[in-house]
């Protein structure tokens, strides 16, 4: 009511809000441009011939007939890129399935059961979680050498299947599963394993999605440890393969090939992100609030 009596003030307020809105969107657009421009540049580079890489910043406008898919062809023929892609897919999915299963099982036990040794176990877990992972590398390297697992995927899959963070994450989330529900399931003849699978896991679904994505991402991008273990080119994962390609001078000139490799290395993760997006944001949000 008060504002109606002073129309010029209302107009001023509206104008101020409008200018504010434009400014907000301008900031967002510039930020989005900075975030997306490198992607666009990479995508364009994959489609250009070698002589066009320097001539055009993005695409050869007006000469679209000059675009080519040769970079992708060269990537698969000059380098064992297909092999690296398969290796990465195999390793990351194996590790992810294992780590999600083992962490959620352990988290369920930690959250919903009393058992011998639980306190000291959690204390030791907490201590190791505080240590940066790199400090384990010399010892682990020594161990793998003695086991004869240098160059073996066992050295990547088995350590990758343990996540203290994951076990704690699931144990935290599964505290919310009501004991009465579990008891009711037991009365109905549900085995403990089925309680985990059919009661506890569905109740923490967002956490499963978020942790699946994070685990896959971590495994897909892991570099230092696999690089210490894997020495044969046919066993490389994508990060190792690409990091080695960067060092070859020829790919500094024909960098379209390198960009094609980078693009193809990102796509699987993006697909998984879209599949799990809803769970991921929800899981991250609930985790962040607690953290």
């Amino acid at each position: 009511m008060a504002e109606l009596e002073r129309p010029h003030l209302l107009a001023k307020k509206r104008r101020k809000e409008f200018v504010g809105g434009v400014l907000v969107h301008l900031v967002l657009l510039v930020a989005a441009l900075i975030a997306l421009a490198p992607f666009a540049w990479m995508l364009c580079a994959t489609l250009k011939r070698e002589e066009d890489l320097f001539a055009y910043m993005f695409l050869p406008w007006g000469h679209f007939e000059r675009l080519t898919l040769n970079n992708f062809y060269a990537l698969f023929t000059k380098e064992p890129f297909g092999r690296w892609l398969l290796n990465s897919l195999f390793l990351s999915s194996t590790v992810t399935v294992l780590v999600v299963t083992l962490s959620s099982l352990a988290g369920f036990a930690l959250a919903k059961y009393r058992f011998w040794g639980k306190r000291p176990l959690m204390l030791v877990m907490l201590t190791t979680m505080l240590l940066p992972g790199q400090v384990m590398l010399p010892g682990a390297s020594k161990m793998m050498y003695e086991l004869g697992w240098m160059n073996s995927y066992w050295a990547i899959v088995l350590p990758g299947a343990v996540s203290v963070f994951g076990a704690f994450l699931f144990s935290q989330a599964m505290q919310a599963v009501p004991d009465e529900l579990l008891q009711a399931g037991r009365v109905d003849g549900c085995s403990e394993l089925r309680l985990w699978w059919e009661v506890a896991l569905p109740m923490v679904r967002p956490m499963v999605g978020a942790f699946t994505l994070l685990s896959f991402l971590a495994s897909w991008n892991s570099f230092l440890w696999p690089q210490i273990i894997l020495h044969e080119e046919t066993k490389y994962t994508l990060p190792i393969g690409l990091a080695n390609m960067v060092q070859l001078p020829e790919y500094r000139i024909e960098y379209g090939i390198l960009m094609a490799g980078t693009l193809l290395s990102i796509i699987p993760v993006v697909i998984l992100f879209f599949v799990l997006q809803k769970d991921f944001i929800a899981g991250l949000a609930s985790g962040a609030v607690k953290g």
Partner: protein
Amino acid sequence: MNRDRLWTWQSRYAPYLFVSPFVILFFAFMLYPLGWSILLSFYQTASARGQQRFVGLDNYRFLLGDWLFWGAVVNTAAYTLGLVLIQIPTSLGLALVLNTRRVKLRGFFRFAFFSTYLVGNVFVAVLFALLLSPRAGLMNRALGLFARRPVDINWLGEPDLAMPSVLLASLWLSVGYGMIYFLAALQTVDRELYESAQIDGAGPWSRFWNVTIPGIRPVLIFMLLVVTIGGFQLFELPFVIFESSAGPSSRALTIVMYLWQSGWEAGNLGYAAAIGWVLVILIFGVALLQLKVTRATQEV
């Protein structure tokens, strides 16, 4: 009868069965290597397979006087400081802007900012090694558009620009990720607090300091710790950008990179282990200091 026995057996031992796969792997592949890392730090080794000789505290003693190591510490600390000072305010700022009421295409912007996080460290490094290359790289060309003349900055060859280049790549990678956390935190701040502050006559600036910051304080401290701890573990970005070297005048040498060089290039796993434990001490020290400072500011 047998079925009943099986039933009581499974309900009795279920927790042990559930934790044992995790616990076995945890002991075998985390605690055991950790123990080895402690032991190794008192040995001098020629390689993973080679001879080892007990040297007591010599590795640590040598490390204290190793100027390459302290150079790496300075580089890493400078990078971490830059990351904390730029990434956290930028992430928070973007989250605040995106959280204003009448934003169009919120989902698009959120994904655009977050998408960079899906690109792994190594792939970001490959991308930025090319983006920052002198003539063809997008960076110099884009700067040239603004300057209206060709820009020829030698991002990766100039010692003073080595860490800033790495920082650029790192910011591109992580600002959107931080934003997601802040966005989630902002949505938990009680709207009524803002309204009552407004009624009390608080301007936007005062509302930010007195309502928003206290409201997201736990997440702010969490981010500060995560970014700092992550910063001290910097490895992949400079390692790949500078082609497994320490960069011009060793200005991109980081602590973890030096650990790797000592352990796997020079083959002295014992020295690498000692570097690892000193890294642990450094990270603990900085994190504790941050917690102390943040606690002190709360009491003010």
